[in-house]
Symmetry: C2
Subunit: 149 residues, 2 copies
């Protein structure tokens, strides 16, 4: 079902989900973060039909999350790379990954683990914190409506 | 389109998106985090048809993200509340929100802002960090396959 657009919502969560709230959008971004650049490689990894993948990559380019660049090896292929806006989805990606790690794997199951490439150690667990560094839970928050400056 | 299940994927991002990768799942979780408990209130806020909302709430209960509890005022209503697994989606929610804040609002537009309820100040911006606290970007990461312990 196509959902009601949240483009004019005052809630940034709703607007974000308008852009990346379909499972496939974050899977494509994930693969781009892992260094996938070419159509054929996205196709193989994601198992999507060519026509569907074409539409989805186009949407991510229109949203300014991916951009199309000439192939890095000088061949005629086009490549997709993340823009700054796309790269800035990293905290969303890592938060999703850590939640999945915690709740969606049974003991002994294989799973991929993201490491800091300098020290080859697991990342810090992401937490929501106040300006002065206190860890906050869902009951420590309040909301107000402001204007974007 | 129904997507290929990622239930057996080794990637925690893929598994998480199997569970919360539809825009409506995180909107329901968002509202539950804001204190929404009753069917009629979800219905009003989300603008979903009753039958669709029923199926979606049921799915979130089955996934162990929401649970059904007797009404807090002693009435016959049923209420929905987040489980620990549901509350632990907070970092995903805040990361999505901060990304939306940064990229999806024009100057002067109204948007909701999440504050620390003790000091009434904005939250720290979420970042991905190494165990020893360095801020990491997409090019500072590597992946390996491990078994869940």
């Amino acid at each position: 079902m196509k959902h009601k657009s949240n483009e004019s919502s005052t809630c940034p969560v709703a607007r974000s989900l308008d852009v990346v709230g379909q499972w496939w959008s974050l899977l494509i971004v994930r693969d781009a973060m892992l260094g996938v650049k070419r159509f054929s490689e996205f196709e193989r990894r994601l198992g999507m039909a060519k026509n569907i993948l074409t539409v989805r990559l186009k949407k991510l380019v229109e949203e300014g999350i991916l951009r199309v660049v000439p192939a890095s090896d000088g061949s005629a292929y086009r490549e997709y790379e993340l823009t700054r806006k796309g790269e800035d989805l990293l905290p969303v990606m890592v938060a999703l990954r850590q939640w999945g790690d915690r709740y969606l794997f049974r003991k002994g199951e294989e799973h991929s683990l993201l490491l800091d490439s300098r020290d080859h150690k697991p990342l810090e667990t992401m937490t929501v914190r106040s300006e002065d560094g206190r860890v906050l839970g869902v009951h420590d928050l309040e909301m107000e409506i402001v204007k974007t400056s």
